[in-house]
């Protein structure tokens, strides 16, 4: 069993997953949002397969960004309110591992289900079959980057709890992920080489794993001072 003192990566990963499973509604909200908005798109544009397929890569990625943004806000705020953030910051170990553990849990609960749901959206939008695997891969890597960057914004806006400010801070930083994520799918649709943009997404993930926890650590320490 885990505790906050020895609390490394797996302790926080396990705990956040457990909390997520117990609060099922919070878990399902972003996914429902993802599905609902996807269903609105054909109604708002046109039910023509060709046009939808053209827009699909972009729309899927915009929805992934919005769904992550919607959920990342609460990554630390519950912990701040009930005092467990304080206890986490008191852990003698490096805070980077608990932070990564929490983000990994967030990705497992938001990014991964989105990724798994995406083929369904692909079918709705008549996305060519060749693009499905690139889409799944790009979403899997990209949503992890989105969670990491979003967590930086969530940590910095903790005293006032996110909202529009969180979106303002995080959206510009999401831009490269959005570009290369949708480009991966688009390249596959156009029959081009889609591994190059995917490799760049992987590079973003590597950079984000290395740097984001440092910023999050520094940001969380300010929350109490707000």
């Amino acid at each position: 069993m885990y505790n906050y003192l020895s609390g490394g990566f797996s302790a926080y990963l396990y705990r956040d997953l457990l909390l997520g499973i117990r609060n099922k509604t919070d878990l399902v909200k972003p996914l429902i949002f993802f599905l609902l908005i996807s269903a609105l798109v054909p109604l708002a544009i046109a039910p023509e397969a060709e046009r939808l397929a053209q827009l699909a890569p972009g729309i899927i990625w915009i929805l992934a960004v919005l769904a992550t943004l919607l959920s990342v806000e609460r990554l630390f705020s519950d912990d701040l309110q009930d005092g467990s953030l304080e206890q986490m910051l008191l852990s003698p170990n490096m805070l980077i591992l608990p932070i990564l553990g929490k983000i990994a849990a967030h990705w497992l609960m938001i990014g991964l289900p989105l990724t798994l749901l995406s083929p369904l959206i692909g079918i709705w939008f008549s996305l060519p079959v060749v693009a499905v695997i690139p889409m799944i891969l790009s979403l899997a890597l990209g949503t992890a980057v989105l969670s990491l960057i979003g967590a930086v914004g969530a940590a910095l806006t903790l005293p006032r709890q996110g909202g529009v400010l969180l979106a303002l801070l995080v959206m510009p930083l999401y831009m490269p992920v959005l570009i290369f994520g949708s480009a991966t799918i688009q390249s596959a649709v156009d029959g081009l080489d889609w591994t190059a943009p995917l490799a760049i997404l992987a590079a973003f993930l590597a950079i984000a794993i290395a740097l984001c926890p440092l910023a999050i650590n520094a940001g969380l320490r300010l929350a109490k001072n707000g």
């Binding site: 069993m1 885990y2 505790n3 906050y4 003192l5 020895s6 705990r15 457990l18 909390l19 117990r22 609060n23 309110q81 009930d82 005092g83 467990s84 304080e86 206890q87 910051l89 008191l90 852990s91 003698p92 320490r221 109490k224 001072n225």
Partner: protein, 210 residues
């Protein structure tokens, strides 16, 4: 057993919005001693605790733990302190036992957990999710840590808030035992303590020199 110096604070000051929050603090704490931090509301008691537990950085002054500067013994220090603040750190969706386990050190035996729950009167609630508990019971879950902890330096910020007589007696018992076994503690409270002998230190809110 000779009393050893556990904590030494030298001219500790904290600035918020370029104003000192309290008059600089200098004090010492030896093993077996309890220190009662007093001060009017807004004198910065909670902030003072947050500096002690390394959540906030002091603007000036230094803290020594067992004779070493803080930066040199960060790991030892943090693994040897227990902090219970205003917020309990209890997760509503986890059960009482799960919460206590999370907040207790490694290898705490099942018996110890059971004992801790019993001493705060929650033995029958072990598997109940915490959102079903009252506010007072919530606090008791957090305070059950006093039984399971192995830390030698306790920081308790208003431990008696929202507790009935029984609860107060329980904490006083834990504190006494901790002091007898050579531990040390810093706490704040609005209530007068009956049993515990404690030195008191009054935080003075800072007044601008004209």
């Amino acid at each position: 057993m000779a009393a050893t110096n556990i904590l030494k604070i030298d001219n500790l000051a904290f600035e918020r919005n370029d104003t000192l929050l309290f008059e600089p603090v200098s004090l010492q704490l030896n093993s077996g001693e309890a220190l009662h931090i007093e001060g009017a509301n807004g004198a910065g008691k909670t902030t003072f605790f947050q500096i002690l537990i390394n959540l906030l950085e002091p603007s000036a002054g230094s803290i020594f733990f067992r004779g070493q500067t803080f930066s040199k013994c960060r790991y030892d220090y943090l693994s040897d302190i227990l902090f219970i603040g205003h917020q309990s750190g209890v997760k509503a969706t986890l059960s009482v036992e799960e919460n206590l386990r999370w907040m207790s050190p490694d290898n705490t035996s099942a018996e110890k957990i059971a004992l801790a729950l019993q001493s705060v009167g929650l033995e029958h609630y072990a598997n109940m999710p915490c959102y079903r508990l009252s506010a007072g019971q919530h606090r008791r879950v957090a305070l059950a840590r006093l039984v399971t902890t192995t830390a030698s330096l306790w920081y308790l910020d208003e431990p008696f808030a929202a507790l009935d007589k029984q609860g107060v007696a329980f904490i006083e018992g834990c504190m006494q035992q901790h002091l007898n076994s050579g531990g040390a503690m810093v706490f704040s409270s609005h209530q007068d303590l009956v049993k515990i002998e404690a030195r008191s230190y009054r935080l003075q809110s800072y007044r601008e020199v004209m």
